[in-house]
């Protein structure tokens, strides 16, 4: 027997030893027994696959995102602009890719097979049916995702008008977030003399929340007479009579006072 020996254990050879026991006499003769003790030292080396643990990366201070600032910087930048939008004579320099990114209508227009996508007409595209101020606000939103341009308006009426125009433009060019923001702003500022017009517009441009808010307003306010006096109401009666019927049905369900309905109906018959 050797004094020391090393062996490799594996799946194929999991055990090692001797088939027979050793005679005590032999063992004692070899001199390994000291003080009636036999010491066997086993050194076991275990080979494992290295274990790699994902350590926590040290917390870095992420610099805040600044893409919005850069994008906003593009607004009106003539140096990089590749299209000029002409709105009732006023010119706006813009970038095809940015417009296409924010509005599917612009995308179809500027990258489709028709006139606007070519450089015919020196990259100028005529926009009709929108006021320049409104268009500016639209463009502002497209580049900055905010409606800050309207903060300049002090007059509430002006603001309301602007918002309505902007909502219409957003609906036309399918800039959905802007449309919703305008909708919410209008919801907050429903007034007796504007509710009818607002309601009509909400119906035309499919603004569900605004429609409901107006109806709610009508149903709960005690100023029905004021409403019916307004221009918007009269116009609405003319343009969409069927809508009127639906409207009164809905209001009727919400209203609590029967007599008020009769009263209003009677007056409406004029």
């Amino acid at each position: 027997m050797d004094g020391s020996t090393s062996r490799v254990f594996s799946q194929a050879f999991p055990a090692w030893g001797h088939l027979r026991f050793m005679r005590r006499r032999e063992l004692e003769e070899m001199g390994f027994v000291r003080d009636d003790r036999l010491t066997i030292e086993c050194v076991v080396n275990v080979v494992l696959d290295p274990v790699v643990t994902a350590g926590d990366a040290p917390e870095l201070d992420h610099p805040p995102s600044n893409i919005l600032g850069h994008l906003a910087g593009l607004l009106g930048d003539k140096g990089t602009a590749d299209v000029t939008l002409v709105v009732r004579g006023e010119e706006f320099a813009a970038h095809r890719a940015v417009l296409a990114m924010r509005s599917p209508v612009f995308k179809a227009a500027l990258y489709g097979p028709m006139k606007e996508s070519t450089d015919a007409n020196a990259g100028r595209v005529a926009i009709d049916g929108v006021e320049p101020a409104v268009f500016r606000a639209l463009l502002h939103f497209i580049y900055t995702d905010t409606t800050a341009a309207m903060d300049d308006l002090d007059d509430d009426d002006d603001t309301a008008q602007m918002i309505m125009h902007l909502l219409e433009a957003a609906d036309r060019y399918d800039v959905e977030r802007l449309k919703l923001i305008c909708e919410l702003m209008l919801c907050k500022s429903i007034a007796v003399d504007t509710v009818a017009a607002t309601l009509a517009m909400a119906d035309q441009h499919h603004c569900q929340k605004l429609k409901e808010a107006c109806i709610e307003f009508l149903a709960t306010s005690k100023k029905m007479e004021g409403v019916m006096e307004s221009q918007g109401y009269k116009k609405m009666k003319l343009s969409c009579p069927s809508f009127m019927v639906d409207l009164w049905e809905i209001i009727g369900r919400k209203m609590t006072s029967y007599s008020v309905i009769l009263n209003i109906y009677a007056r409406d018959k004029d």
């Binding site: 088939l19 027979r20 599917p104 209508v105 179809a108 227009a109 489709g112 097979p113 028709m114 006139k115 606007e116 996508s117 070519t118 595209v125 005529a126 926009i127 009709d128 049916g129 006021e131 320049p132 101020a133 409104v134 300049d152 002090d154 007059d155 009426d157 002006d158 008008q161 602007m162 309505m164 125009h165 219409e168 036309r172 399918d174 017009a197 009509a200 517009m201 035309q204 441009h205 499919h206 918007g232 116009k235 609405m236 003319l238 343009s239 969409c240």
Partner: protein
């Protein structure tokens, strides 16, 4: 606007928001006309002259002013008219250009549709969902489907053209795959139902009849291997076709058609084909063909089980012939080697060609188990095979080789149903090996024991291990004996004793014989010595075993050392005092039993080159009237002459009967123990259940015979371990 307050600073002016309510229908009609014109321009490839902004705004205004329906209907009308024109031009296309024209017009329509959809985006977004009408793009596809694809003139022509092209490609022609791709993609775009009804279903039907015909043709003229090759090729071809110009969903359907027509319908004919079927492939180790068959048959229902069944019955048939062939049975070692070779052969087939499929492995195992047990001498033969290997077969083999061979033998061992018979024989053979010192490697022996222990448990091998222990202990005892008694023994013959513990070694009845005096002396001295250290034990000399080395001097003074058996030594020593003896004298003096004596004398007198005795008369057989003389004239080239040691042979008939009887006897107590164990835990059990349980418990060692079980039950009843139920004769109860 409200008055009052400080003047406000205004950066711009906004118009009052006007709720536009222009009701003028003429305006609507004008606007529509603009759009209608645009649609036509688009179809005429003049889109670049149009202004998107204008058109979009026009459509937007129409919808805003509640003219969405007019716009939509107009669109539908215009497109329908357009498509009808297109349909005419496609129908007019001649021969081969038909498909190309269809494809070109389809591409045009798609481009146009895209532009139209863009212009009418507002309507698509607002009016269409509100009025629950079909969106523009989908409308465009539906109209194409209805007026082009489903137009009577085009519909059948399209299908026929496609099927014709595919058929030509199957017959080896090159076709325009890109065009095909485009057309099938068009069908998919129009809806999965269009693709399936207008193309896929008929395609699959045509394919089925094509392959039905082709498979019939092939099977008449090809052998199995070639047929499979062709099938595989066609299958791959169809899959490739799908990947190139059909929809991916078709792959599963087309492969199942091909599999059915070419494989499933002809499965049995292929497998049983004369001279080339499965059995021939197995016999000739045709790995490629077998692998191909496996891969193809795997795809069809019952394919693999068909192969498996044929293979199993072939194996069972071949195996049965092997084990019942009387020629083969003459050489047990060869017999077992043949079995191992068959196992190796089929293992390799399953490994290489059948992907190590477990079900095939199981079929192989069950077949082997079936036919190995058809011959009730199999346990004995396997033990003989191991005996041969451990005596000389493994000489010079490496440790790994030994392991490999023994593992293979263990595989055969596992198939045995009568493992207790094997145990009996193994013990006998091991005893002979140990006692004659004829084992080639101690480690190999030990390894075999370990394997048996792993397989069958400690009880199986405890006695075998006891035999090894005895051998070692005997060695030590002899060393001690000679150390202590050397002065006493002086010049006498040297003795080497193996002390065998009775329970561990195979029992041998041994009538004593008369040992020569010189031997007796030392034997007695040993007996005294042994019983001195181990009081309470009993020693019996086994004179039917053992060897002796005798120094003999012949006529011309040649000295030889003869290695003989104990019996032979007794006989030869008689000739120290006289030169000639009759048979009867020898029989009387030695007291050796007759059959053993005859065998012993035969090897001393009748074997050429080993005839140290001379017999009169000089016949081959020993008769009781013979006389024997010391052969002065004995010569041999060797100084040491070995005379007939007993070798383990396969048993003669009576010996075989005896062993089997002993095995049966041993089984009785095992069965009884099992019955008692079962009844003790179950208390009450019916006859059939007992038989089933007993079989389950004992089948690792042997298959108990139900008749024997019944007898044992009755014996236990007699000895009042069990009783029969008074009411139900088939029910038994345990008596505590």
């Amino acid at each position: 606007m409200s008055g009052g307050g400080p003047p406000k600073k205004r950066n711009f002016k906004i118009e009052l928001f006007k709720h536009r309510v222009e009701l003028d229908p003429k305006y609507a009609e004008r606007t529509w006309k603009v759009l209608e014109h645009a649609i036509h321009e688009i179809y005429n490839h003049n889109a670049s002259g149009l202004s998107f902004e204008e058109l979009y705004r026009s459509a937007y205004n129409m919808v805003l002013h509640k003219y969405g329906e007019k716009l939509y209907d107009g669109l539908e009308r215009t497109m329908t008219w357009r498509l009808k024109e297109i349909s005419k031009s496609i129908e007019a296309a001649q021969g081969g250009l038909f498909l190309e024209e269809l494809n070109a017009k389809w591409m045009d329509h798609n481009k146009a549709l895209q532009m139209i959809r863009d212009i009418l985006m507002y309507m698509d977004r607002t009016y269409v969902p509100q009025s629950r009408r079909t969106p523009v793009h989908e409308l465009g596809l539906n109209l194409w489907r209805d007026h082009i694809i489903h137009s009577p003139m085009i519909h059948s022509r399209l299908l026929d053209t496609l099927l014709d092209l595919i058929h030509r490609e199957r017959m080896g022609e090159m076709i325009n795959r890109g065009l095909m791709r485009s057309i099938t993609k068009m069908l998919m775009d129009l809806g999965a139902a269009v693709y399936q009804d207008d193309f896929e279903k008929p395609f699959l039907d045509v394919t089925a009849s094509f392959y039905s015909g082709e498979s019939q043709e092939f099977i008449e003229c090809c052998d199995c291997g070639n047929y499979l090759k062709k099938s595989e090729r066609r299958l791959n071809e169809e899959m490739e076709r799908v990947s190139h110009y059909l929809d991916a969903g078709t792959e599963a359907k087309i492969t199942s058609v091909v599999e059915k027509e070419m494989i499933a319908n002809h499965m049995h004919r292929l497998v049983h084909m004369e001279n080339s079927g499965l059995v021939n492939m197995l016999v000739d180790d045709k790995y490629d063909d077998l692998a191909r068959m496996y891969n193809l048959f795997r795809r069809v229902f019952d394919g693999l089980s068909t192969i498996r069944d044929v293979m199993t019955s072939y194996l069972r048939e071949t195996g049965k012939q092997l084990v019942t062939d009387p020629e083969r049975l003459k050489d047990p070692v060869e017999f077992v080697q043949r079995l191992l070779n068959e196992k190796d052969k089929h293992d390799k087939i399953i490994n290489v060609a059948f992907g190590n499929d477990k079900t095939f492995q199981n079929a192989l195992n069950s077949s082997f188990e079936y036919f190995i047990n058809l011959n009730n001498r199999s346990p004995e033969f396997i033990s003989l095979y191991v005996d041969d290997k451990l005596r000389k077969g493994l000489k010079g083999a490496t440790e790994e080789d030994v392991e490999v061979i023994l593992d293979k033998v263990m595989m055969l061992f596992r198939y045995l149903q009568e493992k207790d018979v094997f145990e009996k024989y193994y013990k006998q053979h091991l005893a002979k090996r140990l006692l004659s010192g004829k084992t080639v490697s101690d480690d190999a022996e030990r390894s075999m024991i370990v394997k048996l222990k792993t397989e069958c448990g400690y009880q199986f091998t405890s006695k075998l291990e006891g035999m090894f222990t005895d051998m070692k202990t005997s060695q030590d005892t002899m060393i001690d004996f000679y150390a202590k008694k050397s002065e006493e023994l002086g010049d006498g013959p040297t003795l080497d004793v193996h002390i065998l513990t009775t329970g561990s070694w195979p029992t041998q009845p041994c009538p004593p014989c008369n040992l020569p005096t010189e031997i007796l002396a030392i034997c007695d001295k040993f007996r005294t010595y042994y019983l001195g250290t181990h009081s309470g034990r009993r020693l019996t000399w086994q004179t039917n075993m053992g060897t002796a080395d005798i120094k003999a001097t012949f006529g011309k003074g040649q000295k030889h050392e003869l290695n003989v058996s104990t019996y032979q030594m007794c006989v030869l020593m008689l000739f120290n005092s006289t030169d000639g003896l009759t048979y009867k004298d020898i029989e009387q003096d030695t007291a050796i039993p007759a059959s053993d004596l005859k065998r012993c004398l035969q090897s001393l007198a009748c074997v050429k080159g080993k005839n140290v005795l001379r017999k009169e008369p000089m016949s081959k057989d020993i008769s009781e009237d013979d006389t024997f003389y010391f052969n002065d004239k004995f010569t041999s080239k060797l100084v040491k002459v070995k005379i007939g040691t007993v070798v383990a042979q396969k048993e003669s008939e009576p010996e075989k009967q005896e062993t089997r009887q002993r095995v049966e006897e041993d089984r009785k107590p095992q069965i009884e123990a099992a019955i008692v164990r079962i009844m003790k835990s179950r208390r009450v059990l019916d006859h059939n259940s007992i038989v089933a349980e007993v079989t389950k418990q004992l089948q690792a060692r042997f298959m108990p015979n139900p008749v024997v079980i019944k007898k044992r039950i009755e014996s236990l009843i007699e000895r009042e371990f069990l009783e029969r139920d008074k009411a139900d004769r088939k029910l038994y109860r345990y008596l505590a």
